[in-house]
């Protein structure tokens, strides 16, 4: 059985990361994975078997939409675009995440 979420990733963060990866411009699944990996200096290796279900989940919630287009090497690829709802969601999730990080930070630095 393949891993769903990288074990170190906090639950729910994958959605946030994908939304963020799509914030700048539409991207296909492979591109999203690449981007997450390079931006995080190879720390975040998102398994495909969790990436694609996550994308479906976002589609279902209406936060992203998918369209077929041509990839950089001119192959047919499915591009995901952030919807307006997705953008709002990104803001919300980001805020929540920052709250969380701050909280964790406080706990760690407590004497």
């Amino acid at each position: 059985m393949g891993e769903h979420v990288p074990p170190d990733l906090l639950p729910g963060t994958l959605d946030l990361l994908i939304l963020k990866a799509l914030a700048a411009n539409p991207q296909h699944g492979y591109g999203i994975a690449q981007r997450l990996r390079t931006v995080s200096d190879d720390v975040l290796q998102v398994g495909e078997s969790s990436l694609y279900p996550a994308l479906q989940r976002l589609l279902l919630k209406g936060w992203v939409k998918a369209e077929w287009g041509a990839s950089e090497n001119n192959r047919r690829a499915r591009f995901y675009t952030l919807t307006a709802a997705g953008r709002k969601r990104l803001a919300v999730e980001r805020q929540e995440f920052e709250h969380l990080i701050l909280a964790i930070h406080k706990v760690l630095n407590a004497t």
Binding site: H4, G29, Y30, A33, P53, R76
Partner: protein
């Protein structure tokens, strides 16, 4: 909500979705491979690596798909179903036994539910039927829906709580004119009746309030059925006159085809205004009253209002009644259903037990099957099938079984119940307040009971619940299989675990206990039916034919007319070959019994009780008969004499009483030297009744029900009944001709009918042998008895199959052990004894538990029983004996198989 929409959209475009996903994943894989190659990997290696990195593509696909399917049950269902069907077809024997068992269980439930649905659940057709109420008069311990004019007027005036309070009753009249006179049912109703049931008229109008007053003219409304049948659906009949009896009535309206109030059985063909005369003295029980609660008024509020009205009434009419009379309303549907509700509840509970037994049986079968398929399941689990997936597959299999059983059961149940209802259901339109004998609302021979959406839904639901019910235990058992253990076992004969055998043993014990309870219930009802049969009704019903003739609105409805008619006709009938004796009467035993108050003349001033403004000694049954009546029914004349043709209107008044009346009112004196004043003060008509000399004492007749002791009864000669009483009587009930025949009574129905028609010119209808009338009076008991017997026998059969299955399987499993025993010189007999012993060790605890449960529960059956106590020793001995004997046979057969095991074959089998 939006999510649901997207899901649906996704479901609709599933193929497209899957293709998209596959392409997307392939793209991903290709890019990965490219990436790896760019890093300098060997192309084939890169391809492998890419694939590995992607994990199982299928898995990704699966998980991605799952996102869209929270209704995971739906997904792959078709696959599971086809797999289940294929699997079941491989074992047709198992499948057949399981499906047949379920057919029996679900079919029986469908059958009973279809009756419950028709009688209890289906709402009345009238709009807003829940607000319709029936008025009931409670007097002492008895309650009656039948009432008279004065009370009705009071009820009608309670306009703060009721609207459309209507009086109604059923009569039978002759429709003459046209080719052939015909006896048809007629409803006499007040004007409120049509608005009450929101009647729609196809043509014309309902009658007006003016037409509903005394002497308001002769008008009628016609049913759609009669209009089509007799008048060819010609709308010009409206405004024309038709002859009811000999009186022309102007047809003012035609009712729409779907108008059915269910208040009359049979459905009336004609409707006439009641034209109640309010000045009539109350007490003559005349009609039934129905009304509608006003909006926001509850039954309780209405009843409180009625209590106030009753108190007011008691103040204005000073009565010294020894019987406390009060008024109530109850929901119309409840009132119509009456006592049949408890009987149906009993049947429903019993049939539920049958289903439980069927479930236990199939569960037990499935456990065996799971045992046999243990290896298959283990292998499946080993190659990665999730536990939930296996459970699902097994549950699908049981659902396929139960739905197949449900479908067959639906068909079988609907057909069987119709057959049973047409045989066992009776009807009695001649008892104005209704009777306890019959099942209401089921229509002619149960025609109203049938398949509809509720029955269909019920069957499907029961099937589904059943399928899951009996499937869950085996499915989880199977899924819990210890992988390594099972796979390690040699060969196919995985021995069943102790736990599983225990589960099956438990199922068998439960089955036997339930079956015993049903058998006890059935046996009690069989004893009741036998007791009914053994009852001596006080008359001989064999070889008596009865015929009904409506003489309303003809010259024969007066005393002189009816006397002439009966004398002339009886002469002609008696001349018909095969006729032994013949007579007429107003009302037949077990159909209608009038009760009239009487005063014993010798002590007219003492011991009187009062009700309303009546003073009397007691109520007694009252029947008018022509000479020869006691001959026809072979009711013995114990003292005095029978009526003769000499007891005419001009002769001194006479009356014959029954033994019970003589015993109760003349315990130490001679009734034959006393006289009776009957019905005085009831209605003006009865005031014409002469003071009657008691001239004879006849044997008691159980005329209000075979299970009810005879009550005081009086018989008067037809020729001496005052005109008004005769007119009233023949309006309420068609005259009855009773004929004793030498042979089969129905063989003479045509000649007698023709003879009657020739003399009177009137049609006769509802020709029945007295045997059938007696039979109909116990129809409901018989219906209950047959059903319980069928349930009991089914339970017995299922339990036998169940225990047989367990023992046969256990013998088969232990073939090797038995082989060894035999090889070591064990006696074949002792092996058989061992198997039988073990089987009976399952049976007897079941019998014990069942016996205890039945002992506690049969009390609730007390009201259904007659001539037998709920804890009848004979029943409580014979039912366990029968069950144990059948169980013995069921375990003896596998036992015999066991002792025939060939040791050599058994040992080699490994």
């Amino acid at each position: 909500m939006l999510g649901l929409l997207r899901r649906t959209w996704h479901l609709l475009r599933r193929r497209r979705f899957e293709a998209d996903l596959a392409e997307e994943l392939e793209f991903h894989r290709a890019m990965k491979q490219q990436e790896l190659e760019a890093l300098g990997a060997d192309p084939t290696e890169a391809a492998f690596a890419a694939r590995r990195a992607l994990g199982s593509i299928a898995l990704a696909q699966d998980h991605s798909g799952d996102v869209w399917r929270p209704l995971w049950l739906l997904e792959g269902v078709w696959q599971d179903v086809t797999y289940a069907v294929r699997d079941l077809r491989r074992q047709p024997g198992f499948a057949a036994v399981a499906v047949l068992t379920l057919t029996l269980g679900i079919g029986a439930n469908t059958a009973i539910f279809s009756v419950v649905n028709t009688v209890l659940l289906k709402p009345l057709k009238a709009p807003d039927a829940a607000r319709l109420v029936r008025f009931v008069t409670i007097s002492g311990t008895t309650s009656s829906p039948v009432t008279g004019a004065q009370t009705f007027e009071i009820w009608r005036r309670q306009t703060s709580v009721f609207a459309d309070v209507a009086a109604h009753r059923l009569e039978f009249v002759n429709l003459s004119g046209g080719s052939e006179p015909e006896q048809v049912p007629l409803a006499r109703v007040t004007t409120e009746f049509f608005p009450l049931f929101r009647a729609r008229l196809l043509h014309g109008r309902p009658f007006t309030a003016d037409e509903d007053r005394p002497n308001g003219g002769e008008v009628a409304v016609m049913s759609y059925g009669l209009w089509m049948r007799r008048f060819g659906g010609d709308p010009r009949i409206v405004g024309q006159a038709i002859a009811i009896g000999r009186v022309p009535h102007v047809v003012v309206g035609i009712l729409s085809a779907d108008f059915d109030t269910e208040q009359f059985d049979p459905r009336p063909d004609l409707w006439v205004p009641f034209q109640i005369e309010p000045e009539r003295i109350d007490g003559g029980n005349l009609f039934v009253v129905t009304g509608r609660l006003k909006p926001a008024i509850t039954i309780e509020m209405a009843n409180a209002q009625l209590a106030v009205a009753a108190a007011d009434y008691a103040r204005t009419v000073p009565v010294r009644s020894n019987r406390q009379t009060s008024w109530l309303v109850q929901p119309l549907q409840d009132a119509m259903v009456g006592s049949v509700r408890s009987s149906l509840n009993l049947l429903l509970a019993s049939v539920g037990l049958v289903l439980l037994i069927a479930c236990a049986n199939v569960a037990s079968l499935l456990l065996v099957r799971a045992d046999v398929r243990k290896r298959e399941m283990a292998i499946r689990a080993a190659i990665g099938a999730a536990r939930g997936r296996i459970v699902r597959q097994l549950l699908t299999e049981s659902l396929v079984l139960s739905l197949a059983g449900g479908l067959l059961g639906l068909a079988a149940g609907t057909i069987a119940i119709r057959a049973l209802l047409s045989v066992a259901a009776g009807s009695n339109p001649f008892s104005p307040g209704g009777t306890d004998f019959t099942i209401p609302r089921i229509g002619e021979s149960g025609a109203a009971v049938g398949l509809d959406w509720s029955v269909l839904t019920f069957s499907v639901l029961v099937s589904a619940v059943t399928g899951i019910g009996f499937g869950v235990l085996p499915a989880f058992h199977a899924a819990r299989t210890e992988l390594s253990l099972t796979l390690k076992q040699a060969g196919g004969a995985a021995s069943s675990s102790f736990r599983r055998n225990k589960a099956r043993a438990l199922l068998v014990v439960t089955e036997i206990a339930l079956a015993l309870m049903l058998l006890v219930g059935a046996a009690l009802l069989i004893r009741t039916s036998l007791a009914f049969r053994a009852v001596r009704p006080g008359f001989t019903p064999d070889n008596v034919l009865t015929l009904r003739m409506s003489v309303t609105a003809t010259p024969f409805e007066t005393r002189a007319g009816i006397t002439d008619l009966t004398r002339n006709s009886l002469e002609r009938i008696r001349a018909v070959p095969g006729v032994v004796s013949a007579s007429t009467t107003c009302c037949m035993p077990l159909e209608t019994v009038w009760q009239l108050p009487f005063v014993v003349a010798s002590r007219a001033q003492s011991g009187l009780t009062r009700a309303g403004n009546l003073a009397f000694h007691a109520f007694g049954g009252w029947t008018f008969v022509s000479p020869g009546y006691f001959d026809v029914f072979r009711i013995p004349i114990l003292r005095g004499r029978d009526f003769t043709d000499g007891d005419t209107a001009g002769a001194p008044g006479v009356v014959i009483i029954n033994q019970e009346m003589a015993r109760r009112f003349w315990p130490s004196s001679d009734p034959l030297s006393d006289r009776l004043i009957i019905g005085r003060g009831m209605r003006p008509e009865y005031d014409q009744d002469p003071v009657r000399q008691i001239i004879g004492i006849v044997g008691d007749v159980r005329d209000t029900g075979l299970n009810r002791s005879p009550r005081p009864g009086m018989y008067v000669p037809t020729a001496q009944v005052p005109d008004g009483v005769t007119i009233l009587n023949v309006r309420l009930l068609p005259l009855v001709w009773v004929v004793r025949t030498a042979g089969e009574p129905y063989s003479l129905s045509v000649p007698i009918k023709n003879e009657l028609q020739r003399v009177s010119g009137l049609p006769v209808a509802r020709i029945r042998s007295m045997g059938d009338v007696v039979g109909e009076s116990t129809a409901r008991t018989r219906f209950d008895m047959w059903l319980m017997t069928i349930f009991g026998c089914s339970a017995l059969l299922l339990a036998a199959v169940g225990i047989y299955g367990v023992m046969a399987y256990s013998v088969q499993q232990r073939t090797k052990e038995i082989g060894i025993r035999l090889a070591l010189g064990a006696d074949a007999r002792s092996v058989q004894r061992m198997v039988v012993f073990q089987g009976m060790a399952l049976t007897l605890p079941g019998v014990g538990i069942g016996l205890a449960a039945a002992f506690g529960l049969t009390r609730i059956m007390a009201s259904f029983l007659f001539g037998v106590t709920p804890r009848d020793p004979l029943v409580f001995m014979s039912a366990p004996l029968l069950l144990s004997s059948v169980a013995f046979i069921a375990v003896w057969l596998p036992g015999r198989g066991a002792c025939r095991v060939d040791p050599v074959v058994a040992l080699r089998a490994e």
